[in-house]
């Protein structure tokens, strides 16, 4: 009994921090909603501007891709006439991606395609086939799964339209390195349309295979010239893959930022409704208090 009375006394005494304002919980929620609304609006501005930038870059990248594809077509002409007698067992995989993120599933699609190709049972390749990665994002993804196969990695490509100098540098380093392979597979994203892309693998015939092929033997090509051709066609193929992957990345980034802006807009609408409803509820409560207070006088 004494305990109950002392509890009641404590409950009626004002708390040392002072009385909380009447609509404390509502206002705190309102403040939170307001802050969230502001931050989502800022995010929407950023994603919208990123989408604009990606659209303009996409136009330029697509033009570069059209002209860059000719290099790849020239290659495939040669390789069509020099078919491989025996399928290559030890393939060098060149994975083409880039350093920047916020572009949807570009990097993971290429990494997954590489993993599928290495684990493929229909056309088996050596499980310790070397992999060379262009681009930091795929490098991180592949180093988690296939770290033992990684031979070399390249970055700082893809900030702007890739140049043939980039491709020639990569090809030069590949040829100079003492990595052994029978054939080369370049894994990149093919540009299907402005909203779609899919991973593709393009084969590049190595120098030895070219020498062995029937067409080259019939023409009695000199070894020096064949070596030059193999190196140059590798640079061609890498260049074609680089420009196409760059165009895919810009289109994927534009689509991703477009989706993000739409989602942000939906969130803004929802939060604005919530905020207005909360604000009106607070006003109504205050009115009720005032009116009951006035009616009591």
């Amino acid at each position: 009994m004494l305990a109950r009375r002392s509890l009641a006394r404590i409950a009626t005494q004002p708390s040392p921090l002072g009385a909380a304002p009447k609509n404390a919980r509502n206002m705190a929620t309102l403040r939170e909603i307001e802050l969230r609304l502001k931050s989502v609006k800022n995010i929407e501005k950023i994603t919208k501007s990123m989408k604009m930038i990606a659209s303009t870059k996409l136009a330029k990248a697509q033009r570069a891709m059209q002209s860059g594809k000719q290099y790849g077509l020239a290659n495939s002409e040669i390789f069509q006439h020099t078919p491989l007698e025996t399928p290559a067992k030890r393939k060098l995989f060149i994975v083409v991606s880039s350093d920047k993120g916020l572009c949807g599933g570009i990097h993971s699609s290429v990494s997954k395609a590489t993993r599928r190709a290495i684990a493929d049972t229909e056309k088996p390749v050596d499980s310790d086939s070397p992999i060379m990665v262009i681009g930091d994002k795929s490098k991180v993804q592949l180093s988690r799964v296939l770290a033992k196969n990684l031979a070399m990695s390249f970055n700082q490509i893809g900030r702007d339209i890739p140049t043939f100098a980039d491709a020639a540098g990569v090809a030069d380093l590949i040829v100079k390195s003492d990595v052994k392979y029978d054939g080369i597979s370049i894994v990149y994203n093919k540009f299907v349309s402005a909203v779609a892309y899919e991973p593709e693998i393009v084969e590049v015939v190595g120098e030895n295979a070219l020498k062995e092929s029937a067409g080259f033997r019939a023409y009695e090509m000199e070894d020096d010239v064949t070596k030059d051709l193999a190196e140059f066609s590798l640079a061609n193929a890498i260049y074609a893959a680089l420009v196409e992957a760059h165009a895919c990345e810009q289109s994927a980034r534009r689509n991703a930022m477009d989706n993000a802006s739409k989602n942000a807009k939906d969130m803004i609408d929802r939060l604005t409704m919530q905020y207005n409803r909360g604000r009106q509820a607070a006003i109504t409560n205050e009115l009720v208090d005032i009116i009951t207070g006035a009616s009591a006088l």
Binding site: Q156, D166, A168, D224, K227, A235
Partner: protein
Amino acid sequence: MSSATWRNFFTYNKYAQITARAVRQSLKESERVVAEKRGTTALKYQQWENGVGGPQVLLNSEEGKK
């Protein structure tokens, strides 16, 4: 020059890039500026051993220190 000795020192791609750079530098000023953009590369590479990456090296570090 019937016997080219450059093959002992670098690959065909390096040879092509050197000749391309010579051509670009010989162009008229306005054309040269446009062509230089086509020849820029900031490539960096790193060797990997047993799942561990080595240091990242700038490809043009020797030429860049002109």
